[in-house]
Point group: C2
Chain length 439, copies 2
């Protein structure tokens, strides 16, 4: 039960890095028991050597010398937690070159440079593990790679960003506008001072890129993924959604089409209030996977945060330590497909997607407006399922009009909206939110 | 990408066995791509060679000679799907003795004879994999063993039996009594003709035994697990639960106490209607795991059925095939702890458990009855949170009285109930259902 300790070097002692130190210290005994040998954090590199992180670093070499860490023969596994692109990429490639295994939580980097990194790791015969990059502590990548490996994955959709889910839940519960809900998220530490990467859906698109590679063996660049954030939603939308039996969530959605193309998109979505996913609230994440054998599944947990993310990082360390003890590596290809087996697969253009839509028009409350809007939709063959017009403005006041369409091709709806938003009585761009029933 | 095929032998061509054949055939290409070599089903043994299972067995040797299958040098992995105890135990031990790896879905056998089997496998250096034995297609064991391996697991609770969850959901939705809901489950194939193993909680206790071993490294025999089924519930209970803000679910619950003891129990439970678990409906399963780093998680999916269960069996086959290709085995101890590291840990007696309880008394509607009941509770120090008395019977008619207690030690409630059930005006044994708030 007591093998030689496996040496770990950690680069980046920020929130997650500090969490890794805490998990290795608090759970060191059970980790050693499960692994048959201890994980030993031998070295940490960070530029800030002064800040008190509230952890005891006695016995760990702590300096700013990341290169020295990479060259340290006691370091078998390098944990990259500095984030960002250039420095992280250089660090990871340098670690691989030196024959070190790598654990990272850097979804942005992998979404952009994953192919280069995985190919370098494969050529050098080392592992790159990145469970923490998607879904925080939820073992979703491992589940796709191993637990559901017997399936053809047909679709993945989920709440992949805790910040936006917190904001949406807050808007829904309190009726607060976006800005106030965001401010609350910032006060509680759920949102950054500059929240763009989260609220504009970019973080979710990074994660979806990795999930798509894992699930479908498809190589995408996250810039190709149509991405819409949550800034356009107002409290009325939540109220209307509820009346129609829906909740509003920011989802990452990916589907494998029979013709070999991939649907991949990130946007606010109306989902049935009866679906399990609609009950994933606050800063939590929930990722649903549909496999052709297993059917529907859902994986739920904290998608971010110091200790949950560290839980995933340390699980990766344990997996690699197991390989090291057995003198093997690369047991499972990092994306469940080998890097060279990843295929560039075309994306389905949004215009081709069929579904129902939630439309919120802003129009002057004049006779004939509704008829003009309905007429423009009718011309494009867009059927209307329900209409709610709220309040009575004067003829010079704008009022919201909400409609749910029948299932239609998105290009038709977009065509109608282009015409509608040019109508003189329509005073603001129409909000268009996709509805997903099939969850 | 194209290694030698890995030969699989399947014993037991029932529902799950047929599912395994289907998954290997339908998903053979993607399995080979992920694995780097095909999984080849070379041989099947079953006593019934006539029945048409709707699958093409061309190219697979199919006979009733299980011994021959074990001795077949082309069979590297044996899948045991005959179920039951004696024959399955002999088969698995014989396979291990011959150096074959084993995949099984047999929770009943492992709950009773797991230690013997895992020790034999370890001594012989072969793997025994059993993901399909808990949660059907949900990769819950793998997640405990690897994805959450950095955590001290503090508690597990979940809906581990689809049959009972279907029956409870049906009672809740339609107001049907237990017998009618069970009949419906039987008609739809969700319940056996003899439903005892499911509705009395035994199947859930089998699964909880395995989860406890996996999560806490604790050796329990499932017979020691206090187990109550769902036969005592009536439609009124669902109505009352809803009024109080709860749903009723059959849960398996396990908690690790700081003093080293384990709480483990299976019983109907009132859980908050606001909890995610309360929205796991129909025949689906949901298993919540709380780890000291990751916090709360939930794993959701089909807990039974031909293809979902086969999804887990084939995932195990792929895992072992990966080991075989790398000339290694036993990379991860089957219970995440080595068999010899499993500790017999004492169970917490039910009487010591503290919590709120739902009590349904059946009493003649006579003056003073409520005061006698309340008095007996008060004598044991059991505080009453809410009372609902339904309908007015005549003085000779029994009516239900429902109470929710304040948090109390269970022994006190039991003491009070013993007295109450002896009261002359109390005409039937009181229903006692535990409430779990902390989900």
């Amino acid at each position: 039960m007591s093998g030689a300790p496996v040496g770990v070097g950690l680069v980046g002692l920020g929130t997650i890095g500090t969490g890794v130190v805490k998990v290795l210290q608090r759970n060191g005994a059970v980790i050693a028991e499960r692994l048959g040998s201890p994980l030993r954090l031998v070295r940490i590199a960070d530029l800030d050597l002064e800040r008190d992180r509230g952890v005891d670093l006695a016995g760990i070499r702590f300096d700013s010398d990341a290169d020295g860490l990479l060259d340290d023969p006691d370091v078998k596994i390098v944990v990259e937690l500095i984030g960002g692109y250039d420095a992280a990429r250089r660090l990871i490639l340098a670690a691989i070159e030196r024959g070190k295994h790598v654990v990272t939580a850097n979804k942005a980097l992998l979404a952009a440079h994953g192919a280069e990194i995985f190919e370098a790791a494969q050529a050098r015969g080392v592992d790159v593990a990145f469970e923490a990059s998607v879904g925080g502590g939820i073992p979703i990548l491992r589940s796709l790679r191993e637990g559901l490996s017997a399936n053809q994955i047909e679709r993945i959709h989920g709440i992949m960003n805790g910040t936006t889910n917190f904001v949406l839940t807050e808007m829904e519960r309190t009726g607060a506008p976006f800005e106030a809900a965001l401010k609350r998220a910032q006060e509680l530490g759920y949102a950054e001072a500059d929240p763009s990467i989260d609220v504009d859906g970019i973080d979710a698109a990074h994660k979806l890129t990795l999930l798509v590679a894992m699930a479908f063996g498809a190589r995408l660049t996250f810039k190709d993924i149509p991405t819409e954030g949550i800034r356009g939603l107002v409290p009325l939308d939540f109220e209307m959604a509820e009346q129609f039996g829906y909740k509003i969530k920011l989802l990452g959605i990916a589907k494998a089409r029979a013709d070999g193309r991939i649907e991949a998109r990130v946007h606010p979505t109306l989902i049935p209030a009866s679906s399990l996913l609609s009950h994933v609230e606050g800063a939590m994440n929930g990722i649903a996977v549909y496999g052709n054998a297993v059917g529907p599944t859902l994986f739920y947990g904290a998608g971010a945060g110091e200790l949950p993310t560290a839980s995933a990082v340390v699980a990766d360390l344990m997996e690699i330590a197991r390989e090291l003890r057995r003198g093997t590596a690369g047991r499972v290809a990092p994306l469940s497909y080998l890097p060279q087996a990843l295929r560039v697969r075309p994306l389905v253009p949004l215009g081709e997607i069929r579904g129902r839509a939630y439309l919120r028009f802003t129009a002057l409350d004049r006779p004939g407006v509704l008829s003009h809007i309905a007429g423009a939709l009718g011309e494009q063959g867009v059927g209307i399922g329900s209409v709610i017009q709220r309040g009575r403005g004067g003829a010079e006041e704008s009022v919201p009009v909400v409609m749910l369409t029948h299932p239609t091709q998105e290009s038709a709806v977009r065509g109608a909206l282009a015409a509608i938003d040019r109508l003189p009585d329509v005073t603001a761009p129409t909000l268009f939110v996709r509805i997903e029933e099939d969850l």
